[in-house]
Symmetry: none
Subunit: 184 residues, 4 copies
């Protein structure tokens, strides 16, 4: 692993555990077994590290959205599937997502990415609901509002899963919950 990636990996772990402000460059260097100066060979600033983490997450998310879009285009998309896929996406990017969630109240760049998450998921869900209605599977409910509600469920469960791992996992039951509410 290259030094830059070691720094990124270590920073991810630290920031997700203690938060951005308590993840000091000094600690980061110690934990990563490098010198503090080295950090600045690879990143312009401490915030720059976070930007790299967020950029990588943004890329992963765009892949995820793209794959869902493709399924949508092939008529193979259901609400259930989106939820299952998103939960899988979070599982694979657990640390990164946690960082985004813990910093979007503090940093503009993080808030920007979170907005992208919101908007894209909302749009996908809208399209999926629209499709369902057209197909006759989904009840005739207001599309935008219900997409937003499903989104809050998805994000709420994500947060519960990441920050309260001792709570029983209700992701499957949540899908049932939505099915009952939306499917005919």
């Amino acid at each position: 692993m290259k030094t830059k990636d070691i720094i990124l990996a270590t920073a991810k772990e630290m920031i997700s555990q203690v938060g951005f402000h308590r993840a000091t460059t000094s600690n980061l260097a110690k934990t990563a077994n490098i010198s503090e100066g080295t950090i600045y060979r690879h990143f312009e600033s401490k915030e720059d590290i976070l930007l790299h983490i967020l950029a990588a997450l943004e890329e992963q998310f765009s892949y995820f959205i793209e794959s869902v879009r493709q399924k949508l285009d092939k008529d193979q998309c259901t609400l259930e599937m989106i939820m299952v896929d998103y939960f899988a996406f979070v599982e694979e990017n657990e640390v990164d997502v946690k960082i985004m969630l813990s910093t979007y109240g503090l940093l503009d760049s993080s808030k920007r990415l979170m907005a992208i998450f919101l908007k894209n998921l909302e749009l996908i869900l809208q399209d999926c609901i629209k499709l369902g209605i057209k197909k006759g599977n989904v009840k005739d409910v207001p599309v935008e509002e219900n997409a937003t509600v499903v989104m809050t469920i998805i994000f709420g469960l994500t947060r519960l899963h990441l920050y309260w791992p001792n709570e029983t996992d209700v992701r499957t039951e949540a899908i049932e919950f939505c099915r009952r509410s939306l499917l005919k």
Copy 2:
């Protein structure tokens, strides 16, 4: 307004806007038009200010829970009512709730309070669902899991409301969403 309350009010505003770490005592003093030393006449430490804010919120929340419990005992409680009441509670304690949400990843005392929020709301929702099932209004669904799902919706909407005020308000539609899913 007494100095202590000025400090508290100013701190609330600052912390909710820029987060706990960026709300420095120096800035706080300047904004509140007092000297830094004065802060320490009224609070033991910067963290102590936060503890006071959280303690006040905890008290407000306990009142809220109590009032819901009373309605439950009188059989006047519906899921819809809990959601409406909680949204009203958040509206009245907007800044405080936002502070809790932005600090529970960083501070134990804040996480403790958030856990109280989770646990109490979950229990109330469970009791309410149980009651509904007994009365025959609510479908025969797994109680605990569905209470948790409703709770994630409630908290998710709260967060959406506080951090993304430009999003259209779907709280009413969310209630409909739950009715469709749970009511017979």
Copy 3:
């Protein structure tokens, strides 16, 4: 007891226990059950309190010296008596002496008083030894040097007594020690 005396008494206790710097005006006021402002009605500054304590001790010491001088003038003075009397003087002014000992490395006024202690005791001891030699009771030793030695014994024992109260008390044996060394 007047407020001024309450302050002095409380300050003595505090300074002798935790030292001048750790005896804060805030603590002093709390312990004395008065307000911080009141301190400054009676004393110009925190150091001024110390000066009053030292001045009182200086006065007591001058009484002590005077009484010894009178005995000397009446030919009723022995080394033994000076030692016994000084130990009694310390016993009566324990706290004050301890304060002087703990501050003379830090404060000029305190060092000045300590110099007075040294000089006066030295002179008295010199005169006493001279008298003893003249009378034929004391060996013919260098007066000044031996007075200084006896003085270091006296001050050393005082310090031992005040700071290491668990050490066995050797003040009586110390007198024997000096008798063996100086008396014929």
Copy 4:
């Protein structure tokens, strides 16, 4: 000289001259021509600097005690020799000893070290007096008490030498004083 040693040397000088509390990190940095932050690269806290100074002194003292013990074991030890050697030891560690003397009323670690000084010197003196009595050179006096008296003389002279350098040096005469008192 390395930065750490510069800091230590400067701190020694400052603390011995103005005391621990008045030796501020700000002043220390200015005097040592470094920034305040640098101090904390080399020491954990201001007190940590003092602990290093005391630890070094403790080590030197243990060497001193060991060397005296060796002489004792070889029967080459006299009270006179212990006094001369200790005075030499103080001469070589003047500043450090002064720091210990000025802080043992304030700091536990310093008081601990002073207790070590007391105890070790007392024990050595006791053994030396015992040996002298057995050999027939020393009068048959109570061992412990007389050891303590000699110790107070030694420490008293040390203090006189360090804090009152203008007083005439009576260390040689003090040895005579003890010889007259203890030797047959």
